[in-house]
Symmetry: C2
Subunit: 319 residues, 2 copies
């Protein structure tokens, strides 16, 4: 008999579309149906599930559509692109989950909530944008975007120029109270997609959106703290975290304490922009949650169920 756990699952891009395929809607649905199987296994074991997800390819497609049509259709800003992706992807995940449950004769309907995530307008990320988004451009077109649109761009060797935007730290989730209420009632939820729609508080005005994207794993950690989760599962394209990843000496790491993880982070063992932020999010959940016996797990969607039983993945613990 398993102890029922309150689980927050952060799905990475390749749990929602096969990175080797062009990413059509049909392909996204097909991969999401696959991912729904282990997620529903967790529900059948009695656990509660709050799902969050990345949106890199999807928000990239939306941005590119906006750009290619702006001679005729008014543009929308990055925050609204993230918003749009939340409902499109939330709908897809909810439908795949609901259908998989119905196949198991369980009549429950997953719920997606539009979620904003507050950031600090003085976050250093705003003066140093680092998160690459959207398409790759030739030097000429990149130059035009930099001059005309004020984009900051970086060169990715062999691929071209890419826009970088600020990725400030998440400091609050709205509407957290409604997410928590529904989670407490046992609802299956999708929230905080794409790291959340970034907003700031402006004195004398109120909440306002802005051009930024929030790391979805850091947002997931904040969400997991906020709803009082027992587990944060970060689903990525590797079955676990590896030592010396990508070298002939790579070795799986089954378990890390907060202290061990921090030492490896400081030593630069995990690359920025891939495993680094995930390990950081793993640690953040453990250090910020007031609950006892919390764990973070980093694993792939195919090893999700084994990972919750400590038979796969990398498990992060406080001590």
């Amino acid at each position: 008999m398993n102890e029922p756990l309150r689980i927050v699952v952060a799905l990475g891009g390749n749990a929602l579309s096969d990175p080797t395929k062009p990413g059509s809607v049909a392909e996204q649905f097909a991969r999401t149906r696959e991912t729904s199987v282990p997620l529903c296994d967790l529900l059948e074991e009695g656990h509660r599930l709050l799902i969050t997800h990345g949106n890199g390819p999807q928000v990239g497609s939306i941005l590119r559509r906006v750009e290619l049509s702006q001679h005729e259709v008014h543009p929308i800003d990055l925050g609204l692109c993230v918003a749009d992706s939340q409902a499109g992807m939330g709908y897809m995940i909810c439908q795949c989950m609901t259908n998989e449950l119905l196949r198991r004769r369980i009549d429950r309907y997953a719920i997606a909530l539009v979620t904003t995530v507050q950031v600090d307008p003085n976050d250093p990320a705003f003066t140093n944008p680092t998160k690459p988004i959207g398409a790759f451009y030739s030097p000429e077109i990149a130059q035009r975007h930099m001059t005309q649109d004020g984009w900051k761009m970086i060169e990715v060797p062999g691929k071209g120029f890419r826009r970088v935007v600020p990725s400030p730290r998440p400091i609050g989730i709205k509407p957290l109270h409604a997410i928590k209420d529904l989670f407490d009632k046992g609802e299956i939820l999708v929230a905080c997609g794409g790291g959340g729609i970034p907003i700031v508080w402006r004195d004398g005005w109120g909440y306002e959106g802005l051009e930024a994207v929030i790391d979805k794993d850091l947002a997931a950690a904040l969400l997991a703290v906020g709803v009082g989760a027992d587990r944060l599962i970060i689903v990525t394209d590797q079955d676990c975290v590896y030592e010396k990843f990508g070298t002939p000496d790579q070795r799986p790491i089954p378990r890390l304490t907060v202290e061990q993880a921090r030492r490896r982070l400081e030593a630069g063992e995990f690359p920025n922009g891939s495993m680094g932020p995930k390990v950081e999010a793993a640690v953040q959940f453990l250090t910020q949650s007031p609950r006892p016996n919390v764990k973070t797990v980093i694993t792939s969607y195919t090893t999700l169920v084994d990972a919750i039983h400590d038979r796969a993945g990398t498990c992060f613990v406080r001590v």
Copy 2:
């Protein structure tokens, strides 16, 4: 002292963007801020508010972006376009409402839910698409869409050809139980945007999206029945329903019983595609709700508060 009412408000396009302007994001936010003022007045009077909204211009923009970029970016279907519009617009409405409340020193955060609406796959609308959506096309391009994409199109005199899609009747809302739970708790909600993401049930498969749009006022009536509303307010560009509208003899209609409304509908007094479906939705709420003393009101956003006190708008009652 007013009796607190459970109100479902269906916002028409011009409550969310000024139809005389090009419809940029800044303009949409500006009009939505205006509309938030009377909505927050209703909240301050102690009423509960569940907001739904049309998405015609917004889904038109999304469709056009998809079309203009499909040589490079995979297209998304109409249901996903509706989904995308729900989060973008839900975010906008929630933020404007929240900021207006904070200006009144009320600290509440409105919540937007991604909502699907079930339709009958055998609905006659599927063999007779009538709802115009998106851009106007020249005869040549219209012909190409009809041949290559299987679009059905109609000619709008003086404007060009326009795509028409099925507009089946809404028969179920998911997740209604979560919408009702949150409404019962007193949350300020946005749901069922754009009439909802249309889905059908397919035996042996599950729920599935399809190419259709649902009339937002009929969906609002179904929602109002489902959550046990006392009032359905349909917000349009007229302060009330008029007899002989648009003629020198036009006269406001302050009150209609279900019987009177049906007689006028049958006599063809209200045009299809504008006031007709709104009057039909008004009647549907009154005939399907099991609750006593329910009313529908058709009015504009500037006369919303007067209308709830029977000083403006057209009020529909059972007898």
